[in-house]
Symmetry: D2
Subunit: 94 residues, 4 copies
């Protein structure tokens, strides 16, 4: 099970809201909304996605990474830390 | 007309693709996809939205801001520059 | 003259403060400061640099770009807008 | 000892290089360098600081967080994960 298993419904609710926001952006563009107002709304959508990312990251560290560290038969913890850091690098660059 | 008037269809196409990507994220979460793979895809969606922002910003500067600068009866150019910079600040923080 | 000519001293003051913050980071690392506290301070320095960027961007748009738009003998305004947008793209990715 | 104890010298070298870059920015501003060229260099410094952050984050997770997870007498692992995620949130917003 993924690290976010316990909050799957919450993530789906948030992602459906993001989907609604993206459809709202389409209506803004179709309705000739002023550029700056569209930009403000794009920033809001990006912020909502970023909050999803941070939640997923915390769930991943708290479950997948800590579980690997605690499992005496696993030697994956260091690799999982590297993988999580690479994911953060992608978030910072996006 | 907004600065992006000449490329409205292109922006709608890009935003519909982003909407599809967000629905793809929902399917990933429903399908118990590994956290890091979901995070990678969230970063891709954020990047696509950022490309939309940069396009809108360039269109806004090239049309709304330059037009205000060229219109001898307008004294809005400086205010529009400030407004555009504030929009960039919101993008950087999102 | 660059767009920031009127505020050169203010930018130098801010950059000297950033330099001091970076030396402070070195002292934190030499003093075995807790990782998270170093990270918090790195984020503060990045934020200070970003504020410098936003100031330079506004000065550039308000002077170099608007001047090019107003000069009937210049056809550089569109190229300058593209160049400024590319600079914003670099800031967003950094 | 902090998580970066094993690479302290490397971090100091990188931070001294960042300090040199910030002094370079001051010389650019004193020398009336074109705004866009200053902005490009600010983005480079921000990128260098971000690389330092990612290194510190990986060291922190690999040492402080994994050690807490492995210590049967520690119940700090979850709190440390939350703290690390908050640090990432600050990096994303800076």
């Amino acid at each position: 099970m993924p690290g976010y298993a316990g909050s799957q419904d919450e993530y789906l609710t948030r992602l459906r809201r993001v989907e609604g926001q993206v459809r709202g952006l389409q209506r803004m563009v179709e309705g000739d909304t002023y550029c700056i107002d569209v930009l403000t709304q794009v920033a809001a959508v990006t912020k909502a996605l970023q909050a999803v990312s941070l939640g997923l990251l915390e769930d991943h560290l708290a479950h997948c990474v800590l579980d690997a560290a605690r499992d005496p038969e696993s030697d994956e913890a260091a690799a999982k830390v590297r993988e999580a850091t690479d994911a953060v690098a992608r978030l910072l660059r996006s």
